[in-house]
Every structure is written in structure tokens, then in C-alpha cells.
């Protein structure tokens, strides 16, 4: 967190109204998001109880297990969820376009699926259910339908994507909302989707304070799951499960199951509505300029993973080997750095945060030499000099590189820093993005009197040395990893 975020929270309490943390929304929002609201049985490792899933707010599909304690029924549940999820994935994968018109053009899906869950625990549900189903075999004594295994592979992929800072594949609603608005409560309380939305969209005619205390009453606003409310468990769920286990005739079983379905729907429906409200609120926030480009990259990732799965790709291993871990770590870091920089370049409130921590400064151009040239290797090169007067504290050193977000990250070198009576003067030598002509192309050099911002945050990607091939994994990383073919025992893994 930063001083700006903390101040926004204090302002939210003071005014009893949510405060914006960013001017733009930095998350892509699909026009057809897939929402999953899962519920699990308490005390077990991912025993699915029910899920509400779909892309139509008015018509959620309801999946309720017939007996949460039976292994076969759990796989049956996974199969039903697979039918709901694999269809939109396949549909998205079928609609493709060429990335360019040249001979080297690749294919990219027109739109990729985007899954929403209420909270981070929902992401964990997706990950664990993926782990549970992807290592199953589709033939042999413990055979499961092909779609169950495929669901596992896809859920694992979505859960892995959710770890990236710039993800648009699997989104926890509470996190997406908290990235845009500060509410007047702690992060812990913001983890309750109902309490968070109470700040942003209180029920008609209710003030925020009453809406929040209403949201904290599990009788009125059931928890967003996957864990159910303990009181609900004791009063309703436990008796229903007992009746389910003791029902002797199919008719009796059906009657109990109907009761169970009704009560679980009642528990999930409010959360379902809240997730859609969150999506709607976020969609109304203007999208940041660099969002489409990032979504394009996400579509590429989806396209290539779909090809991998379609070509009969193996399920992900139980644990990453050293090579894959190193790859993933590097990708996590690189995508996080790029995302941070892109947000800063796009959003005045994010750059303000960097200004407060001394990683950026804003000011006015008080002097400019746009035609200055300095001797280069063969001939002289254009290196305009710009003098900026600023009230921000300058923590930069002479010789340090800074970038201009307004000019697509134009690089400048700090020539001198001087403290004056009313602030600081920074002299900068511009390095690039001025065209190849004798003089700078119009607009590429800041004009006298212009308000400018420079930051040390950069999205330029530092190219690293290529990774060693798998068979050349060094001994420091355990040497070449053995093949991660799923073991036969995995298919027989207990799920009870």
C-alpha cells in the first residue's frame, strides 16, 4: 500500500463514500464473462457442494452434487462443470483471426474466455479442483470421461494465469474492485464481497453504514464462499445431508435433493448477483489506453495453450520442476514490472503515487534547446536539452535514466539537479523517439511552458540470456528433470 491509497481510505471513512484509487480501469472486461460461484463442504479438501455458473446474469446454471461425500459423485460434479466451461472455451478457440497480413502471420483468437469468481478463495477452489481432476486417466479401471481430465488441465491453466499481476483470465471480484476503489474499511473486511459492494452500491434507500452492517450478517448476506456459513451448516446443511444419506427410495432421495438444491441456491444467489454488480461497476470505469494491447497478449496465450491441449498435451505436473519454476518466476517478475509501468504511464493517480515515493516528478518546462547536437560515433546526433522546474522532491542522481510517459517512454538522461528557493530544477538530455531527421519530429520535444512528467519506471523489457534446454538443466537446479508423465496411481487417487 502507499500513502495515496491510505489517504484515500481515510477520505472514504470521512465522507462515508468510496474513493477512486485509479483514474482508469486497468483490467480488461470481457463482454461475455463466465461467472462461477462455488460452494464446498466444510472441513474437506475441496469437496464440491454446488456451483452457480454461466454468462447470463438472469439465468445461472446450477450444479448441485447428489452426495458430496461420494467419490463418484464428485467426479460427476466435475463432469457437469466441464460441460459448462469447456463449451465457451471451445467456442472462443474456434473464432480466430490472423495477427497480421504478412507471410509470418500467426493466428489469434478473436476473444478469449474470462472467468470471474467472488474472491481469492474462489481462485484456490479452481486450482484445487484442477489438481484433483487433471491427473485422471480416460481409460483403464479408474477411467473418467475425457472432459473431466480436460477440465482439470484448463482449470489449472486459469489458476496459474491468476498469479500474474496483469491477468485477465481468472479474476477474483474483490481484488478487481479493490484495485479501483478504496472503501472505508480494512483490506480484511474488503475480502467480504458483500461488505465491499455495500460501499459502492448500497441497496436502494440505505446509507453506507447500514448497508455494511447488513452485509456482515450471514443470515441476510451469505458468505461468498466457497466455505459456507457455519450456522447454515448446522441448521440446514447437516440435516439435509443426513436425510440424503438415509433416503431409501429414489423418490425420497429426489425430495431431499430438491430441498438441498433450493437451500444452496438461496446461499449462492446473492453472491452471484454481487459478482455481476462488481463486473458492471468496473465496466463503467473508463478503460486505460494500454489495456487492449495486454488483452491481445492474453488472447495469444490462450490460443497457444488451446493448441497445446488440442494436440493432446499432457496435464501439468503435480509440482513444477526447477526449469519450469525458473521460467515461471521470470515471467511473473517481468509481467509484473511491465504491468506496473504501463499502469503508471496510463494513469495520473498511479504516477502520483510514484511521485510521492520519489520515483517520478512533474513540473513545467522553463527552458528548452530543441536543436542541440552532440558529437556521436560517426556524426553528430540530436540531443535536445530540457530544463524542468518542479515542486516535487528530487531523489534522482545525475546520469540516471528517466522516461516520459506522455511520449511513449521517451528516454532522457539527468544532466544536472539543483535546489532553488521554490523547488528544484532538473536538466534533462533527450535520447530517442524524435525521428531520424536532422531536426526532431513535431511534438517529440516538450515545448516551453509545457507540463511534463518523468519517471524511472520503465516497461522496456530487459532481454535475458536464453534458458538452457531441459537436458542441460545445471546441477544447481537438480540436473535434468525426469519426465512428468502422470503416474497410473494418480488416476486412482482417493477423493473422499
Amino acid at each position: 500500500m502507499s500513502a495515496l491509497t491510505s489517504l484515500a481510505k481515510a477520505l472514504a471513512v470521512y465522507s462515508m463514500a468510496p474513493q477512486r484509487l485509479t483514474v482508469f480501469r486497468h483490467l480488461y472486461i470481457s463482454s461475455t464473462p463466465i461467472v462461477i460461484v462455488p460452494l464446498t463442504l466444510a472441513g474437506e479438501t475441496n469437496a464440491p457442494l454446488a456451483a452457480m455458473v454461466g454468462s447470463d446474469r438472469a439465468r445461472p446454471n446450477l450444479i448441485v452434487t447428489r452426495q458430496p461425500r461420494e467419490r463418484a459423485e464428485r467426479l460427476n460434479f466435475a463432469g457437469r462443470l466441464a460441460s459448462e466451461l469447456l463449451f465457451p472455451i471451445e467456442t472462443a478457440a474456434q473464432r480466430t483471426q490472423a495477427t497480421s497480413s504478412g507471410p509470418n502471420a500467426r493466428v489469434r483468437v478473436v476473444d478469449a474466455p474470462q472467468i470471474w469468481v467472488p474472491n481469492p478463495a474462489g481462485v484456490e477452489f479452481v486450482r484445487t479442483l484442477g489438481r484433483m481432476t487433471r491427473l485422471r486417466q480416460t481409460e483403464g479401471p479408474w477411467a473418467v470421461p475425457k472432459k473431466v481430465r480436460e477440465l482439470g488441465i484448463w482449470l489449472t491453466w486459469f489458476a496459474e494465469q491468476a498469479e500474474f499481476a496483469d491477468t485477465g483470465a481468472l479474476i477474483a471480484a474483490t481484488r478487481a474492485v479493490a484495485a479501483v476503489w478504496a472503501t472505508g474499511q480494512s483490506d480484511l473486511e474488503d475480502g467480504n464481497l458483500a461488505a465491499q459492494i455495500a460501499w459502492l452500491d448500497p441497496p436502494e434507500g440505505m446509507d453506507v453504514a447500514s448497508a455494511v452492517s447488513r452485509a456482515e450478517d450471514p443470515q441476510l448476506c451469505p458468505p461468498a464462499g466457497p466455505a459456507t456459513d457455519p450456522t447454515f451448516d448446522r441448521l440446514f446443511l447437516e440435516p439435509a445431508l443426513r436425510d440424503l444419506a438415509t433416503a431409501r427410495t429414489p423418490a425420497a432421495h429426489r425430495a431431499v435433493h430438491q430441498r438441498l438444491t433450493a437451500m444452496l441456491e438461496e446461499q449462492m444467489r446473492p453472491t452471484w448477483e454481487l459478482v455481476w454488480t462488481a463486473i458492471g461497476l468496473l465496466a463503467d470505469v473508463p478503460e486505460a489506453p494500454r489495456v487492449p494491447k495486454r488483452w491481445e497478449q492474453q488472447r495469444d496465450r490462450f490460443t497457444s495453450f488451446h493448441r497445446y491441449v488440442a494436440d493432446g498435451g499432457r496435464p501439468q505436473a503435480k509440482r513444477d520442476n526447477a526449469g519450469r519454476s525458473a521460467h515461471r518466476l521470470a515471467e511473473l517478475e517481468q509481467r509484473k514490472a511491465a504491468f506496473e509501468a504501463q499502469r503508471a504511464y496510463d494513469d495520473p493517480l498511479v504516477i502520483a503515487d510514484h511521485r510521492l515515493t520519489g520515483e517520478a516528478f512533474s513540473g513545467q518546462v522553463v527552458k528548452v534547446d530543441a536543436t542541440r547536437r552532440v558529437p556521436g560515433l560517426r556524426r553528430s546526433v540530436l540531443r535536445p536539452l530540457v530544463l524542468v522546474a518542479t515542486g516535487d522532491h528530487i531523489h534522482f542522481d545525475v546520469g540516471q535514466h528517466v522516461y516520459d510517459p506522455a511520449r511513449n517512454g521517451q528516454q532522457a538522461v539527468i544532466e544536472s539537479v539543483a535546489e532553488t528557493e521554490d523547488g528544484w530544477r532538473v536538466a534533462l538530455e533527450l535520447q530517442n523517439r524524435m525521428g531520424s531527421g536532422q531536426t526532431a519530429k513535431p511534438g517529440s520535444v516538450p515545448a516551453l511552458g509545457e507540463d511534463v512528467t518523468y519517471t524511472s519506471v520503465t516497461e522496456t523489457f530487459v532481454r535475458r540470456r536464453p534458458w538452457p534446454a531441459r537436458e542441460e538443466t545445471p546441477w544447481t537446479h537438480g540436473g535434468p528433470a525426469p519426465d512428468s508423465a502422470p503416474a497410473v496411481e494418480d488416476a486412482a487417487e482417493d477423493w473422499s
Binding site: S6, L7, G43, T128, L237
Partner: protein, 314 residues
């Protein structure tokens, strides 16, 4: 906690302890690689509902000490002993849901938990809580041995954690190093303010007594009890909500202070306690006092930048 989760946890524990801890022995042999040939099983559970805790404590102490003094090579399992720990000069009895296991001249604390170890990894928060809890038992057992004039280091600083494996109900055991938790615990116990010195700060007639009647029903006026509670200033932080049933009470008492937003926010706002004050310093409605100048300047700058950025977007 959910009744369903509690039932499942009990079921799992019963499974591990069934038939004189047969399953647990297998785990100790195969997972922890202890050379256990055969063991005695010593049941220290209450014999009936009238079994008093003091007599159970005496029984537990006798059994554990007798085990130390015998030099029989076989292992011994003590199911559900009562332990005692000195906290601030007050002897506190603890009834841990544990098994103490003696092999050779080593005691191990065995902790059975119902959260799963999935692919060799478990929820880090739950493991940390289990480690902390076990450290208390290790310390209590050591204290007991010491009081009896025996070597406290016989109690191992590694505890055995038994959990369900992956998605199944099958147990798996891991050794958990609790040396760090033990050190923290000892430091906390040493630094603890004595109850007497805290009591001196409170009104002499303050009491939280519920005034139970003979049937065990509270007879105290709730309003009066609430007044008594509010005489003690809340030291609230958002984490309280998950750990204490009075969390909501303290939160409402702390309303308007920066504490309700969490520790990080408090630090970011430069230690200004009241939200109103922080906002007024930021907006310039209030002049900072000598100690607030630096915090106020940061808040002013942050507020101005915020307004400028939002204003440009409007």
C-alpha cells in the same frame, strides 16, 4: 467453526487413534522413520464425566515421570495428557488434544490436524498455527520434567504433525521444527506484564463476572456488562475480527480512528490517530502541531496530487 468440519476432524482423529493408535504407529515408522518395535498405549482421557482435571493432571504427571525413569526400550504413547504451564507466575492447566510419544529417552509431541497436506504442501497459515500451538505443549512438558528434577531436553523440539493426505482421509505425518516458535514463546512469556500491574490501572470495582446462577445461566444485566467492557480501552486491529468474538465490539469502539483501517494505513498516515484529524491535515483545515509537521506535509502533497489527477480526469 462449522459443525461439519468439526465432525470431519473428529472422524480423522479417531481413525488415526483407532486400535491403540495402530495407524499412528505405522506413520511414525514409515514417515518419520522411528525404529518403533512395539509400544505401550497409555490412555489418559477422562475416565468418566466426574473425572476432575486436577486428578487427571496428577495422573498424567505420574505416568510421564514413570516413563522417564523406566529404561524399557519399548515406546510409550500417552493419549490426551493434562499439562501445566507457568504464565506470569500463575499455573495454567492446558488440556491439549495431543499424544505424547516416548521412544528411548526422547519425547515427541504428536499433533493431529484435519487440514490436508496437498502434494507435500499445506496452507502456511494453518501450519504456522499448528507449530505455535505445539510449541506451547513442548514448553509445558519441559516445565513438568524440570519441576520433577528431570532433564527437560528430553522433549524434542521437533513435533510430529499428522494430517490427511491430498484429497483423501488417509493420514500422513511430517516432522515440524518448532525451535523458532519456542524461542518466541519464551520471550513473550518473559516479557509479559504481570496481571497485578495491569489490574492496578483499572477501576477497582471493574468486573466481567456473568453472575451465573445455580443452573449456570448468566444473571448479569447485559447493559451493565457492556458498560464494564467499555471501561477498558479497545486495542483494535482488523485481525481481531477473525480471532475474537468481541472483535466487532472493539471495532465500534475504535470507530473514527485510523486503527480500523489496519496497521499499514496507520503507518502510511504518519501515526496520526484520528481519521478526521488526518483528513483535516491533508486538506489544510487544521494546522499541524510540532510533532505532526512531517506527516502533515506528506498528507498535503498526497491530497493535492490526488485532487489534481482526479480533477484532470473529470
Amino acid at each position: 467453526m462449522s459443525s461439519i468440519a468439526i465432525a470431519r476432524g473428529r472422524g480423522f482423529e479417531a481413525k488415526v487413534k483407532a486400535d491403540g493408535c495402530a495407524e499412528l504407529l505405522r506413520l511414525l515408522r514409515e514417515h518419520i522413520r522411528l525404529p518403533v518395535a512395539e509400544v505401550h498405549y497409555h490412555d489418559l482421557n477422562p475416565t468418566d464425566t466426574d473425572d476432575r482435571i486436577t486428578s487427571r493432571l496428577r495422573r498424567s504427571q505420574r505416568a510421564l515421570q514413570a516413563a522417564v525413569e523406566s529404561d524399557e526400550p519399548t515406546g510409550t504413547l500417552f493419549d490426551h495428557p493434562i499439562l501445566q504451564l507457568t504464565v506470569n507466575g500463575v499455573q495454567v492447566r492446558i488440556e491439549p488434544d495431543l499424544i505424547a510419544f516416548k521412544l528411548g529417552n526422547q519425547f515427541f509431541v504428536v499433533e493431529i490436524k484435519s487440514f490436508a497436506i496437498l502434494d507435500g504442501a499445506a496452507d502456511s497459515g494453518k501450519v504456522a498455527a499448528a507449530a505455535q500451538q505445539s510449541a506451547v505443549y513442548v514448553l509445558a512438558m519441559r516445565e513438568m520434567l524440570q519441576t520433577a528434577g528431570l532433564d527437560p531436553d528430553m522433549v524434542s523440539d521437533h513435533v510430529v504433525l499428522v494430517c490427511p493426505k491430498d484429497f483423501s482421509n488417509q493420514p500422513v505425518a511430517e516432522l515440524l521444527d518448532v525451535r523458532k516458535q519456542l524461542a518466541t514463546l519464551k520471550r513473550q512469556l518473559n516479557r509479559m506484564e504481570s496481571v497485578e500491574s495491569i489490574l492496578r490501572l483499572l477501576p477497582p470495582d471493574l468486573t466481567f463476572d456473568l453472575r451465573l446462577d445455580d443452573a449456570g445461566q448468566p444473571t448479569r444485566d447485559p447493559q451493565e456488562l457492556a458498560t464494564a467492557i467499555f471501561q477498558v480501552t479497545a486495542r483494535y486491529s482488523p485481525e481481531c475480527l477473525g480471532a475474537c468474538e468481541l472483535g466487532g465490539v472493539c471495532r465500534s469502539e475504535a470507530r473514527g480512528t485510523v486503527a480500523v483501517l489496519g496497521r499499514v494505513v496507520r503507518e502510511d498516515l504518519g501515526g496520526v490517530d484520528s481519521i478526521k484529524e488526518a483528513v483535516e491535515l491533508a486538506t489544510g483545515l487544521r494546522e499541524p502541531d510540532a510533532g505532526q509537521r512531517q506527516a502533515a506535509e506528506l498528507l498535503r502533497r498526497a491530497y493535492d496530487m490526488r485532487e489534481a489527477a482526479l480533477g484532470a480526469a473529470r
